[in-house]
């Protein structure tokens, strides 16, 4: 069963279209990722799906309710952790949990159980009296998640939950998201970090308010790039880059640290061309090999080819 069904959702701010005719479906218990650069329209889409922003046109069914006509019913069935995320820094851990438990109207038995759970997932048992503002970022984010789902919603929206925390905390956070999904909660999560896409069952890539790619990681890597990627290890890299560009080899040439990626159409084998171009020069060529495209490659390619058209 689909937990969310989005149909031609559009949001205009004056003359500016922030979300343009977006449609997709999210299955129950899925971890669904929104990828996209700053200003792509991720937050705007999420706010419409949460019932706090009215769509300009189109609609979406969230937990079976229309965000356009029944935003209050939608709100009752979801949890939301906003991008600015959203605990009261001047309250203690325990007061924050009590407040959100209170506004969701939890009765006391369920509340105590959920409070215990929220403290547990944030690793804050015994630290209930700590002022929230004094907690490290990663722990605060886990607590924010705990309060956002204190009422056990069937769907939860997380807007850039992992921005600005260290990699270890990010990893722990994703384990938590996994745990929620295992409890059959649908998780919609936005992120800037492409490597986090690997944790998602399904993804959409947004740019300028439009979906430019969708699928799971495997599909994204294979369906959108009809190209081969060559990774060149060499020295000096900059000079290599210049020579390859002068010789117009492949479609795109990108530098990644001390390696260079050349993207070329699948049909022509350019390995020899690369070797020949570099052999006559003063370059130490360590290796040239075909590699699996990364999501980075796919996205760079998609965004560049979109900009060209």
């Amino acid at each position: 069963m689909d937990s969310i069904e989005v149909n031609n959702l559009t949001k205009k701010f004056g003359g500016f279209t922030a979300v343009n005719n977006v449609s997709f479906k999210v299955k129950r218990g899925e971890i669904f990722g929104f990828l996209g650069a700053n200003g792509a329209g991720k937050t705007t889409t999420i706010k419409m799906l949460c019932g706090i922003l009215t769509p300009s046109s189109g609609d979406a069914l969230v937990a079976g309710f229309s965000v356009k006509d029944q935003p209050d019913m939608v709100k009752r069935n979801i949890g939301y952790m906003s991008q600015k995320f959203s605990l009261y820094n001047d309250l203690t851990v325990s007061e924050n949990i009590e407040f959100f438990g209170g506004v969701y109207g939890l009765e006391s038995k369920l509340f105590l159980e959920r409070k215990k759970w929220a403290l547990e997932i944030a690793g804050l048992r015994g630290k209930e009296k700590t002022i929230t503002g004094d907690l490290p970022g990663g722990i605060k984010q886990r607590l924010a998640l705990g309060t956002a789902v204190i009422h056990k919603p069937q769907i939860v929206f997380l807007d850039e939950p992992t921005s600005g925390v260290d990699p270890i905390a990010r990893r722990q956070f994703w384990e938590l998201i996994n745990q929620l999904a295992q409890e059959d909660i649908t998780v919609i999560v936005t992120t800037h970090y492409l490597e986090e896409a690997e944790y998602c069952n399904s993804l959409i890539l947004m740019d300028s308010g439009e979906i430019i790619a969708r699928g799971n990681v495997f599909e994204l890597k294979n369906n959108y790039l009809n190209k081969t990627i060559y990774e060149i290890e060499c020295e000096p890299t900059l000079l290599t880059l210049e020579i390859l560009e002068e010789n117009n080899i492949g479609d795109e040439i990108t530098m990644y640290g001390n390696t260079i990626h050349v993207i070329a159409p699948k049909k022509d084998d350019v390995e020899l061309t690369i070797r020949n171009a570099l052999s006559s020069q003063n370059i130490l060529l360590k290796s040239v090999k075909k590699i699996q495209p990364t999501l980075d490659d796919v996205f760079v390619h998609l965004l560049e080819s979109k900009n060209e058209t």
């Binding site: 209050d72 949890g79 959203s86 309250l91 506004v103």
Partner: protein
């Protein structure tokens, strides 16, 4: 509307307030500051009124009168005039604020029992406030003076009476003349409207700034639960504030509430709700705490200072400005609590003020929700 949700919001807001030492300081320091400034520093009592005298009697009695008058702190005889034609000039050129004319038959009448001795006063009416005060001084003085004369007559006739009034210092008979008494109701109004609207506006905008507002909007909390829950602690604080100011007014300036405390509490409550609604309107149009603070203090303070009748009597304003005085709830509140505190009269004398006052929250809430709605569709 669910009570327990509202309670959760109120509880949280109260805890935040108790932890916000800076805001608490402002809430409780501001009234004290205003009390001191208006109670002590700004002295609205008029003293040393410049008085010119046209003595057409030139008798020992008239000289005695002048001497007595000059001996008070309230009048300084600055000039002696020689003819009635000089009266206008003395006033117009601001040489004197008032002119006293002692008629030629003054001493004769003073010494004739049962005959009234008349004095004529010409008062500069340009500043209505001061003119009223001078007139009151004059009335009090002449009343007192004639009481003394009466006592003297009776003495001469061989009877001894102890004058009951002359032993008390001059002008204490007319407590309404003391400006602190006049100012206190306005002071309460200003303290309440400023603290309530500023604190409420700040508290709502802070939720916006910190992103917690969005969190509240996705929760199933409706706006009535949110507004009442969030405002409750501030309403409570404001009522405490009002009680404090009244107590201070009594202890420092001897102003006691003549009328019903219950009615006073009712008026305060309606006014505080109106002030809260003003704060909410400000929070709806401001996006940062800084803007909210400035806007709230401006639109709460200025009208209640200038237009409400707090300092400048509404009756002496131009007709068109009088119309504008209806824009601030403080106008109605001040009228109502002056009636309660100073006159001690019953509800029948000021219920229209309370009705007008109750319209403010309704209008302000309506306006706020209309603006919010428009914003939500646009943004």
């Amino acid at each position: 509307m669910k009570l327990n949700k509202m309670r959760a919001v109120a509880k949280k807001e109260f805890k935040q307030l108790l932890r916000d030492k800076r805001l608490l300081f402002v809430i409780f320091f501001f009234p004290i500051l205003l009390l001191v400034v208006f109670g002590y520093a700004i002295n609205f009592d008029v003293q040393h009124v410049k008085l010119a005298v046209l003595d057409r009697d030139h008798s020992p009695e008239s000289r005695l009168l002048l001497e007595k008058l000059n001996a008070t702190v309230y009048f300084d005889v600055v000039k002696t005039l020689d003819s009635p034609s000089e009266i206008d000039e003395a006033i117009n050129r601001k040489i004197a604020q008032a002119v006293m004319v002692i008629p030629p038959d003054f001493s004769k009448n003073v010494n004739t029992p049962l005959k009234d001795a008349k004095l004529q006063f010409v008062i500069d009416g340009i500043d209505g406030n001061t003119a009223t005060i001078i007139k009151n001084y004059v009335d009090t003085f002449t009343e007192l003076y004639s009481a003394r004369l009466n006592a003297k007559f009776l003495n001469r006739l061989g009877k001894v009476i102890t004058p009951t009034i002359s032993v008390t210092p001059l002008f204490e008979f007319n407590p309404d003349l003391r400006s602190t008494v006049f100012l206190l109701p306005g002071l309460i109004a200003m303290i309440l409207i400023v603290t309530a609207s500023v604190t409420v506006a700040l508290s709502f905008v802070r939720e916006k700034e910190h992103g917690t507002e969005e969190q509240l909007r996705v929760s199933s909390l409706n706006s009535i639960e949110l507004i009442i829950g969030k405002s409750l602690p501030f309403i409570l604080v404001s009522v405490i504030n009002a009680a404090m100011v009244l107590l201070a007014g009594y202890l420092l300036f001897g102003v006691a509430v003549k009328g019903s405390l219950l009615l006073l509490a009712l008026a305060v409550l309606i006014f505080v709700i109106a002030s809260t609604a003003l704060g909410i309107l400000v929070s709806v149009i401001s996006d940062s705490q800084q803007v909210a603070f400035q806007l709230a203090s401006l639109i709460s303070m200025l009208p209640s200072l200038i237009l409400s009748g707090f300092i400048f009597p509404i009756e002496s304003m131009p007709k068109i400005i009088q119309l504008f005085t209806n824009l601030t709830p403080a106008t109605f509140f001040i009228k109502a609590i002056r009636a309660i505190i100073l006159k001690g009269v019953g509800l029948q004398n000021f219920w229209p003020q309370l009705v007008y006052l109750s319209l403010f929250p309704i209008i302000l809430f309506g306006l706020s929700s209309a603006i919010t709605k428009r914003k939500m569709d646009r943004a």
